[in-house]
């Protein structure tokens, strides 16, 4: 069965600095999608970034980028120039291509220090 592991329950970063959140996953599939979701105190999950497994190029969305290592089954999120509004829970998620079920990690709580 596929699993997603986030080994950092909590991380802190100074405002304007860079932080990397870790995610590893376990699958025997070759075609799948990976996601990072942000959950602020409002509880609504917001998509931060997504990566197709067949693409070698790492996805980037403004200050957010990923380091996708398919062989190592690693999918880390880098947040550059951290802002106070980045403080939230971050969830890594996996979905096998052609299926509907998203599998989520346990989340990393990110604190941004002024």
């Amino acid at each position: 069965a596929q699993t997603v592991t986030q080994s950092q329950p909590e991380m802190s970063v100074q405002e304007a600095e860079t932080v990397t959140l870790s995610c590893t996953y376990d699958t025997s599939e070759s075609d799948y999608y990976l996601f990072w979701y942000k959950q602020p105190p409002s509880r609504q999950m917001i998509l931060v970034i997504r990566q197709e497994a067949y693409k070698q190029q790492n996805a980037t969305e403004n200050r957010f980028s990923v380091n996708f290592q398919k062989a190592a089954k690693s999918f880390s999120l880098k947040i550059s120039d951290s802002q106070l509004g980045d403080a939230a829970m971050y969830f890594c998620a996996y979905r096998k291509s052609g299926t509907y079920k998203y599998i989520f990690g346990t989340g990393t709580r990110l604190k941004v220090l002024a």
Partner: protein, 117 residues
């Protein structure tokens, strides 16, 4: 609607009572999901609807949990004889037609926070 709407936002209930949680997906979205988020845990898949049918109910934790969807729109998650371990945030999400099995985004509501005392 503009987004996935869930009600109630917060619910406190006594152990043994039944509760109903409602989800109103984004208009036109055909796929609907229910997830449960317990403290310190990730999101636990409960059930998936495509239209009014539920091809995957495998995540429902016990027969006290049930869900239905009518008119391909609103869904209700019902928990009978609630237990303290049912306390969690129940999140609903939906996706547009044709994206149920692609990599496109699912859209989440703000959840219903259930506390069983």
């Amino acid at each position: 609607g503009a987004g996935v709407s869930q009600s109630p936002s917060n619910k406190v209930t006594e152990k043994g009572k039944d509760v109903e949680l409602r989800c109103d997906p984004i208009s036109g979205h055909t796929a609907l999901y229910w997830y449960r988020q317990s403290l310190g845990q990730g999101l636990e898949f409960l059930i998936y609807f495509q239209g009014n049918s539920a091809p995957d109910k495998s995540g429902l934790p016990s027969d006290r949990f049930s869900a239905e969807r009518t008119g391909g729109s609103v869904s209700t998650l019902t928990i009978q004889r609630t237990q303290q371990e049912d306390s969690a945030v129940y999140l609903c999400a939906s996706t547009p037609p044709g994206t149920g099995t692609t990599g496109n985004t699912i859209y989440f509501g703000e959840g219903s926070w259930l506390t069983v005392v």
